[in-house]
C-alpha cells in the first residue's frame, strides 16, 4: 500500500494574514532572551539552535494562508481540497518540481465558494500553462460561475478565458460516493451560509474527512448521528475549530463555524483517530492557537471514553502521514 500523506498549504480561515512587524519584534525579543548564554555566534549555529535546539518552538508559526490541503497517495495526479491562498504556495512547489512544460493533472474538491476558499486560484500558476488539466469538483450550482466571476473585471486583470490550462467543472451530488483519482470520495452537505460540503476520502483502508466551514450544533439526535456516521472511524479529521464553544453558541451563532470542543466530541463519538484543528481564526496569533491546541489535548484526555484521540493543530507546511 502506498503511503498516504496530507499536506497543509493553507490553514487560516476567513482571511489570509501575515506575520506582522509587531509579532516579529515580540518573537525576536523572546528568541534573544532564550538564546542568552547559548553559542549562537554564527548564522549556522543560530539556525541549528532554532531548528533543533531549545529555540525550535520559537521558529514555528501556524502561518496565514487560507485553506488549501493536498492529499497524496503516490499517484501522478494531484488532489487538493479548496483553493485558498495556500494554493499559490502549492503551485510554486509543483512548478519547482516539474517545470513549466511538463503537463500535470489536478483534482480539486471545493468545500464552498466563499472568497477565502477560491482566492488562491488567480495565482494558481498551473492554470495559466497549456497542457495542464484542472478538474474542479463541488456541489454548488454556481461552481463555475464563481471561478469565472473572480477572474472578470473589475476583480482581476486576466479573464478566465485566457487561462491556458484545460479547466473542467464537475458538479457532485452529496451523499453518494465517487471514484476519482484513486479515491472514493463522498460529499456531505454542511451547515454554513449558502451551504458548504465536507468530503470523506477513502482508499487502501484509510479514510480522511475534510470538514471545514461547518457549524455542528449537535442539538438533535438525527443530525448528530449523521455527522458521526460521516466521521466514523476516520484516520484523520480536518475540522473547522475557528471559534470557542461559547462564541459559537452566542455572539457567533449561525456564523457557520465550529469549535475545538465540538470537534473532540464528534471524533470521540465517531471513534476517529486523529483530529486536526483547522480554519484558524485570523485574529488569533501563534500563542493563542498553541494555547487552544494544548487545551484541546487536555479536553480529550479528561473526556476520553475509548481509545485515545490524537489532536493536532494544523499549520501551513504541516505534513501528516497515515
Amino acid at each position: 500500500m502506498p503511503a498516504v500523506r496530507v499536506k497543509f498549504w493553507g490553514t487560516r480561515g476567513s482571511l489570509p494574514i501575515a506575520f506582522d512587524a509587531a509579532a516579529l519584534k515580540d518573537r525576536l525579543a523572546s528568541a534573544l532572551v532564550a538564546a542568552s548564554g547559548h553559542d549562537v555566534g554564527t548564522i549556522e549555529k543560530a539556525r541549528a539552535w532554532l531548528e533543533r535546539g531549545p529555540g525550535s518552538a520559537l521558529s514555528q508559526t501556524f502561518g496565514g494562508d487560507s485553506p488549501c490541503v493536498q492529499l497524496e497517495a503516490g499517484a501522478a495526479e494531484y488532489v487538493l481540497c479548496d483553493l485558498g491562498t495556500g494554493a499559490r504556495v502549492f503551485a510554486n512547489r509543483v512548478l519547482q518540481r516539474h517545470g513549466a512544460t511538463s503537463p500535470q493533472v489536478f483534482h480539486v474538491f471545493m468545500s464552498h465558494l466563499h472568497w477565502d476558499h477560491i482566492m488562491g486560484f488567480p495565482f494558481f500558476t498551473p492554470a495559466y500553462l497549456p497542457g495542464n488539466r484542472i478538474v474542479i469538483y463541488g456541489c454548488h450550482r454556481e461552481l463555475e460561475h464563481a471561478f469565472r466571476s473572480q477572474h472578470a473585471a473589475p476583480f482581476f486583470p486576466i479573464p478566465f478565458e485566457r487561462l491556458g490550462a484545460r479547466i473542467e467543472f464537475v458538479t457532485l451530488a452529496p451523499g453518494r460516493p465517487y471514484d476519482i483519482a484513486g479515491w472514493s470520495v463522498t460529499p456531505r452537505r454542511q451547515d454554513h451560509s449558502g451551504d458548504s460540503y465536507g468530503y470523506r476520502f477513502e482508499r487502501d483502508r484509510r479514510s480522511i474527512v475534510y470538514s471545514t466551514d461547518s457549524e455542528y450544533k449537535l442539538d438533535n439526535a438525527a443530525d448528530t448521528q449523521a455527522a458521526t456516521a460521516f466521521f466514523r472511524d476516520a484516520d484523520l479529521v480536518i475540522f473547522d475549530a475557528m471559534y470557542s464553544l461559547a462564541d459559537s453558541v452566542s455572539v457567533k451563532e449561525d456564523w457557520g463555524h465550529s469549535s475545538n470542543v465540538v470537534g473532540v466530541e464528534l471524533c470521540q463519538l465517531a471513534r476517529a483517530k486523529h483530529l486536526v484543528l483547522f480554519h484558524h481564526e485570523p485574529a488569533n496569533n501563534d500563542d493563542k492557537i498553541a494555547s487552544i491546541w494544548r487545551e484541546t489535548v487536555r479536553l480529550e484526555e479528561i473526556t476520553r471514553h475509548g481509545a485515545p484521540l490524537r489532536v493536532s493543530a494544523a499549520y501551513d507546511g504541516l505534513e501528516i502521514e497515515l
Partner: protein
C-alpha cells in the same frame, strides 16, 4: 440527569446530578426551563450546584447559554457553583467561565448574589 431544588430567600439552588450529555440534555433543558422562566428582575435568582455533575457536553453547555440569554433578557441572574475539577476545566476550555460567574461553593455564590439568601442558608446549614 436529576435536578432537585432548595429555596433560600429570593434564590433557588438547583442541585444537578449525573452526566449532562447527548442522552440527558433534553431532560436537562426541560428541567431547567421551568426555573429559568421565573428567573427575572424581582423574581428568583438561580444558583446551579454542579457538585454532583461529572461531565457536561457541548449540548449541555448550549442549554446553559440559552438559559443565560433568556434570564438576561428578563433581568434575572444565574450563577454556577461547586464545579467538579473536570467540569471546571470543560467550562474553562469552552470559555463558559467568561459567560457565567462560577463560585467554588454554593455558599460563596449566595454571598455574592443575595445577602438575605446567604443568611437563610447559614441559618439552615449546620456548621
Amino acid at each position: 440527569m436529576l435536578i432537585s431544588q432548595k429555596r433560600y430567600a429570593n434564590v433557588k439552588v438547583l442541585t444537578l446530578s449525573g452526566r449532562i450529555d447527548n442522552g440527558t440534555s433534553d431532560s436537562f433543558k426541560t428541567g431547567l426551563g421551568a426555573h429559568v422562566a421565573e428567573c427575572r428582575a424581582g423574581g428568583d435568582r438561580l444558583v446551579l450546584d454542579f457538585s454532583g455533575v461529572d461531565y457536561i457536553s457541548s449540548v449541555g453547555l448550549r442549554a446553559l447559554m440559552l438559559a443565560a440569554r433568556q434570564s438576561r433578557e428578563q433581568g434575572g441572574t444565574i450563577v454556577m457553583a461547586a464545579l467538579q475539577p473536570v467540569v471546571r476545566e470543560i467550562f474553562e476550555i469552552s470559555r463558559f467561565t467568561m459567560v457565567f460567574d462560577c463560585f467554588p461553593t454554593v455558599r460563596e455564590a449566595l454571598a455574592k448574589i443575595s445577602p438575605s439568601a446567604l443568611a437563610a442558608y447559614d441559618a439552615r446549614t449546620p456548621g
